[in-house]
């Protein structure tokens, strides 16, 4: 990709074409939420105009059309991550996916204790003495559900530490991950550090320990080719709104052998086979995990977003964003008083950079940039333990996507260069 192609791409994103505080918008907050191309907005609109109905019930024409659109979307997303159709579960977002999984795992313990369900459930269940391993760089969404699962089951939560440059201490990972590890959950790419973790290496450690390997793919699925089979993880989650789709839709991938035996989290309509006054039997995955009327139009829109990304080429998007990320870090490092979190310039990172401005609070940095039409994220980016580990409470983060040009990065850098003088730091 190059700037000329990006300028063509930008025509697909109406929201980018506006003035903010008198200047053309520079949107560098896609790590928080991305913008929607016309094809995605139209896919959702077309669904409501032509095919809206409840899925998996009703014999009428619209119900059939809606069900087809919904399940075609699932196949599109399964293909997008090289998963099988039955392994692709709709959720509201990654947070819900991780909560679903953590509650399904604690339900596995309850079921196993009463001899309900498959005999493999007792292997999946967590008990006192078992361990859940995460890393020090996790987003709260991939941390708190595990803290709570540990609380419910009596398991212990352990951390793979990071080095000062943000990289995982792989020399310590082998000590933290061991025979007691039942769950190993970590992020593919850090939403703060921009670092890409060695997924296969970690997954191999988890597998050798007999643990379930859970991947937070929120910052990778939208930005680089994702092959869950090649990465050899048991579960993966991501959110649609970070990958050109609307809010309210996300995906939980799960290896079929696990999804087939795990108890459901939410129960109700659309996920059962037989219901009596006393109890219910459940459908196999993915329906087993999709209680109630689903987010149908959002799923259709997410498929349109995946198609947009696939047609553009995730390899190409990844390379372009990596170039923007390097430009950000190199530029930031050359400004006095700026500390960039994560890998230094020249080291691999995705297209985002979080940084501290000496003597100026992140909130003030964000306000200053906004006055020049530049949108960035400020705060702890839902990673308080990571910030505390790095001796900070809040940072500023710029995150690029396929619709950002090098001019966007340059305007951002130029603005950052003026921050400390304005606030007399």
């Amino acid at each position: 990709m190059d700037n000329a192609e990006v300028l063509r791409i930008r025509n697909d994103f109406p929201v980018l074409n506006q003035l903010v505080n008198g200047q053309s918008l520079v949107y560098l907050d896609s790590g928080a939420t991305s913008q929607n191309p016309v094809s995605v907005i139209e896919a959702e609109q077309e669904f409501y105009e032509q095919r809206n109905a409840a899925v998996h019930r009703g014999a009428h024409h619209l119900a059939v059309e809606a069900t087809e659109a919904f399940e075609d979307a699932r196949q599109t997303i399964a293909d997008f991550i090289s998963a099988d159709y039955e392994e692709t579960v709709w959720t509201s977002n990654a947070t819900e996916g991780l909560n679903l999984l953590s509650y399904a795992l604690s339900n596995a313990g309850l079921w196993a204790a009463q001899g309900r369900g498959d005999s493999r459930l007792k292997d999946l269940a967590l008990n006192p003495g078992d361990e859940i391993v995460v890393t020090e760089m996790e987003h709260h969404a991939n941390l708190i559900p595990w803290q709570e699962l540990a609380f419910r089951t009596g398991a212990t939560l352990r951390y793979i530490p990071i080095a000062d440059d943000g990289s995982l201490r792989m020399d310590r990972a082998g000590d933290v991950i061991g025979p007691r590890t039942k769950v190993l959950a970590f992020t593919h790419a850090s939403n703060v550090l921009g670092i890409i973790n060695p997924v296969q290496e970690l997954a191999a450690l988890g597998r050798a320990a007999g643990a379930l390997v859970v991947l937070d793919a929120c910052q990778s699925a939208p930005h680089l080719p994702l092959d869950v089979k090649e990465l050899d993880v048991d579960f993966a989650v991501f959110s649609g709104h970070k990958m050109l789709a609307p809010t309210g839709i996300g995906v939980l991938y799960g290896r079929q052998e696990h999804l087939d035996v795990l108890p459901p989290f939410l129960t109700g309509g659309s996920m059962i086979t037989t219901v009596t006054m006393e109890r219910a039997e459940y459908l196999p995955a993915p329906q087993r995990f999709e209680a109630g009327t689903q987010r149908i139009s959002q799923a259709v829109a997410l498929a349109a977003a995946a198609n947009y990304l696939t047609e553009t080429g995730l390899d190409r998007i990844h390379r372009w964003e990596a170039e923007l990320g390097q430009r950000m870090v190199a530029g930031l490092e050359s400004i006095a008083g700026i500390r960039v979190l994560g890998p230094a310039a020249g080291q691999e990172r995705i297209g985002l950079a979080a940084f501290d401005v000496e003597g100026v609070h992140a909130h003030d940095v964000g306000q200053f940039l906004d006055s020049q039409g530049i949108a960035v994220r400020v705060g702890h980016h839902c990673a308080q333990p990571l910030h505390r580990r790095l001796g900070l409470t809040a940072t500023t983060r710029a995150s690029a996507y396929l619709y950002n040009t090098t001019d966007d990065v340059d305007r951002f850098l130029e603005a950052v260069a003026g921050v400390r003088a304005y606030f007399r730091a």
Binding site: H361, A362, H363, D364, G379, T393, Y422, F423, R424
Partner: protein
């Protein structure tokens, strides 16, 4: 509205001067009745711990520790200058007035006679996301005042 209207000179000055900052190093006047309050804004991590000493019905001293953006730090500094010497009732009036201005989305103008330098925060009312930054030390002061008085 321009950035300079939000970050008025007075605010930038006070964000550096931080009058009243240094809780641990500041001893409360002996014989005074004190109250202390810790306030946290979970959204941005702004944090203020403020102690207020009341003697003979008047605010004798304000001391605080805090970490946060320029608006939150300047606001605590301005509050310190303003509060010291006021009666308990007067400080309640000032806090009520400041809150009315900040929560008005720009509709209520600050009374410079009552609010003094704190009138400079009038522009913050137009930035909904920043209102809590300006309010945090005032909420702490109100809480501490209720304890001390």
């Amino acid at each position: 509205m321009s950035l300079d209207q939000l970050y008025q000179q007075i605010i930038l000055d006070h964000s550096k001067a931080r009058h009243g900052s240094g809780l641990a190093e500041t001893e409360a006047p002996s014989g005074a009745s004190t109250g202390q309050s810790h306030q946290l804004n979970p959204v941005c991590g702004d944090e203020v711990t403020l102690r207020l000493a009341v003697e003979d019905g008047k605010v004798a001293q304000v001391a605080w520790d805090g970490a946060g953006c320029s608006i939150s730090m300047a606001s605590a500094s301005v509050l310190t200058d303003l509060a010291e010497g006021l009666t308990v009732a007067e400080l309640h009036d000032v806090i009520d007035s400041f809150r009315d201005v900040l929560r008005s989305r720009g509709k209520v103008h600050a009374d410079p006679e009552l609010l003094g330098d704190a009138a400079a925060f009038e522009g913050v009312a137009r930035y909904a996301a920043r209102v809590k930054c300006a309010m945090i030390s005032w909420v702490a002061a109100e809480d501490a005042l209720n304890q001390a008085a």
